[in-house]
């Protein structure tokens, strides 16, 4: 799923606000595809292409723009249409799971052995229901919800999503590019399931899985749902 950024003029003020936001949640844009909506930028604005470059310098991965005006200098390089079927290439590989060989581990990371057993940093436990309108985002690992996820609520995890209750809202797993992530729930009534950008709405879910305890996973580019017995 792509994020949409909608810059407002003056662009410098907007960039400052963005920097402040990124300081608070530094991993927010990690490897997530971003669409920049330029619809509210006036036609006479100068330096839009440079502005987009500045966004990329901040590590934001722009996959396309919307509402760009053709008269802007150098904008055609940014007006890339959104890939419809093909998924964008990943610039950042998912962090290696603890059991796999840590070939890519750089020296800045402590060796895996020094991490205390349990490694709770990679899991978020929510011991209450997720209410309508609430959004839980945890990019470093799995989310476990003890309770239901309401219609109109969303739970987004870098890893897998586990719901010990009824999943009525949205569940997004593998947020930062992790096709091995899965979604589990005790009762499926979800509005939307997504894993690594592949999504399925309620209409597309098999009728026999509705209301059942299920797991959802990715088989290539297709999402599979199976009933857990």
């Amino acid at each position: 799923m792509a994020l949409v950024l909608a810059p407002e003029v003056p662009l410098t003020d907007w960039l400052n606000a963005l920097d402040a936001q990124m300081e608070r949640s530094p991993n927010f844009f990690d490897a997530r595809p971003v669409v920049v909506d330029l619809g509210s930028v006036p036609r006479e604005q100068q330096g839009v292409a440079q502005f987009l470059q500045m966004l990329e310098q901040r590590g934001i991965r722009i996959i396309g723009t919307e509402g760009a005006h053709p008269s802007w200098d150098g904008i055609e390089a940014w007006g890339r249409p959104l890939p419809v079927s093909a998924r964008p290439g990943r610039e950042i590989e998912p962090p290696p799971a603890s059991s796999t060989t840590a070939a890519t581990t750089t020296q800045s990371l402590p060796p895996a052995e020094s991490v205390p057993a349990g490694a709770e940093v990679n899991a978020l436990l929510i011991d209450h229901p997720v209410r309508s309108g609430q959004s839980v985002v945890f990019e470093r690992g799995d989310i476990t919800v003890l309770g239901s996820v309401a219609s109109g609520a969303e739970v987004m995890a870098g890893g897998s999503v586990h719901v010990y209750g009824t999943l009525r809202g949205r569940a997004v797993a593998g947020l930062a590019g992790h096709p091995g992530a899965r979604i589990f729930c005790s009762k499926l009534q979800a509005e939307l399931l997504a894993i690594d950008g592949v999504y399925l709405t309620a209409d597309g879910m098999p009728a026999k899985a509705i209301g059942k305890p299920v797991q959802a996973w990715l088989d290539g580019e297709r999402m599979k749902i199976s009933v857990l017995d």
Binding site: R131, S132, G133, Q134, S148, A150, S151, G152, A153
Partner: protein, 271 residues
Amino acid sequence: MGKVLVVTSGKGGVGKTTSTAALGAALARGGENVVVIDFDVGLRNLDLVMGAERRVVFDLINVVQGDAKLAQALIRDKRIDTLSLLPASQTRDKDALTIEGVDKVIAELREKFDWVICDSPAGIERGALLAMRNADLAVVVTNPEVSSVRDSDRIIGMLDSKTLRAEKGERIDKHLLVTRYDAGRAARNEMLKVEDVLEILSIPLLGIIPESEEVLKASNIGSPVTLNNPNASASRAYFDAARRLKGDKVDVVVPMQRPGLIGRLFGRRVA
């Protein structure tokens, strides 16, 4: 120190004002000192339901802005002298309320009364947030239908994050009041069942108020239903709910339809 209770729902028209008046009157009849506050600035109704619309001189905004003293704005009920009303302003809007002003008024009322009951406006904006801000406990009013249930769920989330108690890391007690429950329609599966509502919202049940003509009748003559007709089924349910609020253990009764002979013969075909 009195308790501050917010009556809220998210959705409009589910019975917040009616329930505020009925619960307030029920608690006051039980000897408690009660004030009900209308937070619906600009669309005030509680004064009408309480039958005090011709007695409003000063209102919540005047007190918040320091133009009137609290004692000048409080209207004591003519039927029960332990029941008071702090009306909203009809000519202003919710922006006229300030956080500091509301906090100060509630703190003052807390000293004077056993129960401070805040009638929240619909919505999830400023007005509703100010109404719930100081609450110790909340009554979430819900009709047994999907849109009301989802809006209530949203409001419960806000009670857990946007109140002073939540900001201090404490929990706020939340109680579900199911209103406009129609036993006949429930039996025909035309309405959500109470257990389904409870399953979705997962907060304790305070009571089930049956749909009743008496509620409308009482509102129209400007009286809380619990005063106008204490023996009506809806009033009895409100009295039970008020006792549960005080901490008494009272079993919840699901209103049942007791149709007469004609009703039994034709009940399924009408409506």
